[in-house]
C-alpha cells in the first residue's frame, strides 16, 4: 500500500511534466493540423535556459531560493517563448499552404538542428545541477520501513501544473484570444474573413506552447538535476504519445494523457521492470487507439458531406 502510494505520487509528478509538454503538441495540432516535432527540443532549450539563468544568478550572488526560482522560471518562459515564435516564423510560416508533409519534414529538420545546435554550443556532456529543494512531507512511516514521502519539489511541480492548467483553460475558454484560437482551429479561412489575424493567432499559439514547455523544462531540471541536449527527444516522444492518447487537439485530453503515460511508466517500473516501461506505455497507447481511434477525449473527425 505504502509502495503504491509512493509510486502514485511519483507517477503524477512525471505525468504533470509530460502533460505540460503535451499541451504544446495538441494546441499546435489543433490550430494548424501539424505535428511540431521540434517541440521536445523547445522543452530541452527551456531546461538549458533555466540552468544558464540559474548559474548567472548564482554568479551574481542571488541565492534567496524563492526569488531565484521565480526569476529562472520567468526568464526560461520568456526566452523559450521567443524560440517558439522564431521557429514558427522561420520554419513553418513560409510553408503554410504548401502540401501537408512539407511542414512535418521541416519540423523534423528543426528538431535535429536544435539538438545539434545545443550539443555544439553547450557541449555533449550532461549538465548537473545540485538539488536545490530538499526535504518534503512524510505522509506515512510504516513499520515495514517504507516511507511515503511527497517531496517539496514534487509538490511544486504538481501545484504549478494545476495552476497553469487552470489559467490556460481560462484563457482558451473565456478570453477573446482563446475564442480566436478556437475559431482558427475550426475554420481558418472563415476566421480570417471575420477579421481575425490568423498568422498572429498561430504565432501566439506557438508562444504559449513554448512557455509551458519552458516550465516543464525548468521543473525537469530541478527535479532530476541533470540535463543534456538529448532530453528533448525522449520527453518529446512521450509527450506526443500523451497528446495522442488523450485525443490530439483536446487540452484536457493532453493533460489526462500526460498523467496516464506518467502513471503507466512509473507503475510499470515500480512493479515489473524499468527496462520495459516504454514498451508498456506504447502498448497501452496502441490498445487505446484500437478501441478509441481519436484518443480518450478526442472528438472523432466527422466527414463533412
Amino acid at each position: 500500500m505504502e509502495y503504491f502510494l509512493q509510486q502514485l505520487i511519483n507517477g503524477i509528478t512525471l505525468g504533470s511534466i509530460y502533460g505540460l509538454i503535451a499541451i504544446g503538441y495538441t494546441m499546435v495540432y489543433g490550430i494548424i493540423g501539424m505535428i511540431n516535432f521540434a517541440h521536445g527540443e523547445v522543452f530541452m532549450i527551456g531546461a538549458f535556459i533555466a540552468l544558464t539563468s540559474f548559474l548567472a544568478l548564482a554568479a551574481l550572488g542571488i541565492t534567496f531560493l524563492p526569488l531565484v526560482l521565480l526569476i529562472i522560471l520567468a526568464v526560461a518562459m520568456i526566452f523559450t517563448a521567443l524560440w517558439g515564435w522564431t521557429i514558427e516564423r522561420v520554419a513553418y510560416r513560409p510553408l503554410r499552404g504548401s502540401f501537408r508533409l512539407a511542414p512535418l519534414i521541416t519540423a523534423i529538420g528543426m528538431s535535429i538542428f536544435l539538438q545539434n545546435f545545443v550539443q555544439i554550443t553547450q557541449g555533449a556532456r550532461v549538465k548537473p545541477l545540485p538539488p536545490q529543494i530538499q526535504g518534503g512531507i512524510t505522509l506515512m512511516d510504516s513499520p515495514s520501513g517504507i516511507v511515503v514521502q511527497l517531496s517539496w519539489m514534487q509538490l511544486i511541480i504538481i501545484v504549478m501544473t494545476v495552476v497553469l492548467m487552470t489559467a490556460f483553460s481560462l484563457i482558451i475558454g473565456k478570453t477573446s484570444l482563446g475564442r480566436q484560437q478556437r475559431a482558427c482551429e475550426q475554420d481558418r479561412k472563415m476566421a480570417s474573413l471575420l477579421g481575425v489575424n490568423v498568422d498572429r493567432t498561430i504565432s501566439l499559439t506557438f508562444v504559449m506552447g513554448a512557455g509551458l514547455a519552458a516550465v516543464a523544462g525548468t521543473m525537469y531540471l530541478l527535479y532530476y538535476g541533470v540535463i543534456d541536449f538529448y532530453i528533448g527527444f525522449i520527453a518529446g516522444v512521450k509527450a506526443f504519445t500523451a497528446a495522442v492518447l488523450g485525443g490530439i487537439g483536446s487540452l484536457p485530453g493532453a493533460m489526462l494523457g500526460g498523467l496516464a503515460i506518467g502513471l503507466i511508466e512509473t507503475f510499470w517500473s515500480g512493479y515489473f521492470s524499468v527496462e520495459y516501461k516504454d514498451v508498456a506505455a506504447f502498448s497501452i497507447l496502441a490498445i487505446v487507439l484500437i478501441f478509441l481511434p481519436s484518443g480518450l477525449l478526442g472528438r472523432p473527425e466527422v466527414e463533412k458531406v
Binding site: 484563457i171 478570453t175 477573446s176 482563446g178 478556437r182 475559431a183 476566421a191
Partner: protein, 323 residues
C-alpha cells in the same frame, strides 16, 4: 425611381473597375465594371458559372485579381481625384475621420474585414460549429476586444476598461440575437441550430464585424418560403436601420426582384445588364442568357422582341429553370 436609379453612379460604396480574373487560360471575369450604391441592396445574378462567386472572392481578398481596381469607399463620397492619388501612391488605403478609401485588390483577406469593413458569408454555411451561438458573434468582434484587453492580459486581470468593452460586445451580440430570433439559443453549439437559423446566424455574425458593406453569397439557398420572407425583412432592416449596403448573389428570383434596388447580371464573366429590377427583368439579353440562347441568337431574340412576337416578361426563371 429616377433618384434611386442614379444612386450607384452618384454615390457608390463599392466600385469594381475593369476587373479581369484569369485562371491559367480560363478567363473567369472579363473586364467587368459595376458599382454598388451606398445604402442599396444590389444583386449580382447570372446563370451558373457566370463568375459571380469569383467576383466575391476578388472583393473579399480570396483572389488577387489579374487586372482591375476595386475601390471601397466608406463614409462620405470621395472625388475621383482622391482615388487616383491613392492609386498612384501605391498604398492600400487612406483613412479619414469619417471613413476612407480602400483599394481592396491590394489588401489581404483579414484586413479587408478588420480595416476596410467588408463582411461576407458563403454559399455553404461556415459557422464555428463547436462554439456557442453567442461565441460565434463574439469572435467577430475580437479586434476591438483584443485591443481593449491588451492582448488578454488586462482581460485576465479583469480591468474595468476591458470589462466595459466586453459588456458592449456582448450587448451588441445579444442585440443581433434578438433581431435574428436566436436569443433563446445563445448558449447552444452553433452546429445544433436548424438550417435556416444557421443562415441567419451567419448574417448576424457578419454584421458583428461592423461592416460598411455586407456581401452575401446565396443567403436564401435552401430556405423555405416563410424563412425567405423573414430573410427579406432582415436584409431590409440591415439596409434601413443599420445603413449597411448589401451586395448579394442569389438564384431565388423572388428574393432578388423583391428586395433589390439594383441588379447586375453576369454571363460568361461579362456584364450583360445593369439596372433596377424592372429594367433587368425585361432585358432581352438577360432572358436569352437565362433561357440558354446562343450568343448569335440574341440579336434575333432582340429583333423579335422589338417586333413584339415574343413577350418580354417571360416566365420568371427559377433555380431549376437555369440548370
Amino acid at each position: 425611381m429616377a433618384s434611386t436609379a442614379q444612386r450607384w453612379t452618384r454615390d457608390p460604396i463599392l466600385s469594381v473597375q475593369h476587373l479581369t480574373m484569369r485562371f491559367g487560360g480560363l478567363v473567369a471575369i472579363d473586364d467587368l465594371s459595376f458599382n454598388v450604391g451606398r445604402g442599396d441592396i444590389t444583386a449580382l445574378i447570372g446563370p451558373n458559372g457566370a463568375g459571380k462567386t469569383t467576383v466575391f472572392n476578388c472583393v473579399t481578398g480570396f483572389y488577387r485579381p489579374t487586372e482591375g481596381r476595386i475601390v471601397f469607399n466608406r463614409g462620405a463620397a470621395r472625388s475621383d481625384h482622391e482615388v487616383e492619388t491613392l492609386t498612384k501612391s501605391g498604398r492600400q488605403y487612406q483613412e479619414s475621420q469619417d471613413g476612407g478609401i480602400y483599394l481592396l485588390e491590394r489588401m489581404s483577406d483579414f484586413r479587408i474585414t478588420a480595416t476596410a469593413g467588408v463582411a461576407r458569408t458563403f454559399q455553404n454555411i461556415r459557422l464555428f460549429g463547436g462554439m456557442t451561438v453567442l461565441e460565434n458573434l463574439l469572435v467577430a468582434q475580437h479586434n476591438e476586444l483584443m485591443r481593449a484587453s491588451g492582448f488578454s492580459i488586462a482581460g485576465l486581470l479583469g480591468l474595468p476598461g476591458y470589462r466595459r468593452k466586453a459588456a458592449e460586445a456582448k450587448d451588441r451580440a445579444i442585440d443581433w440575437l434578438e433581431r435574428t430570433a436566436l436569443l433563446d439559443r445563445a448558449d447552444d453549439p452553433a452546429a445544433d441550430l436548424a438550417y435556416g437559423d444557421q443562415r441567419r446566424l451567419e448574417i448576424a455574425r457578419a454584421m458583428c464585424t461592423n461592416p460598411g458593406l455586407l456581401c452575401l453569397d446565396e443567403p436564401a439557398a435552401g430556405l423555405n418560403p416563410r424563412e425567405s420572407t423573414e430573410l427579406n425583412e432582415l436584409l431590409r432592416s440591415i439596409r434601413d436601420k443599420d445603413g449597411v449596403s448589401i451586395l448579394l448573389i442569389e438564384h431565388d428570383m423572388g428574393v432578388v426582384m423583391e428586395i433589390s434596388d439594383h441588379i447586375v447580371v453576369l454571363d460568361y464573366g461579362r456584364k450583360i445588364a445593369d439596372g433596377d429590377a424592372a429594367s433587368v427583368r425585361s432585358d432581352p439579353k438577360v432572358i436569352a442568357a437565362y433561357l440558354g440562347v446562343d450568343d448569335e441568337e440574341v440579336d434575333e431574340v432582340e429583333e423579335d422582341l422589338q417586333a413584339g412576337t415574343v413577350k418580354p416578361t417571360g416566365p420568371q426563371p427559377t433555380q431549376g429553370g437555369m440548370a
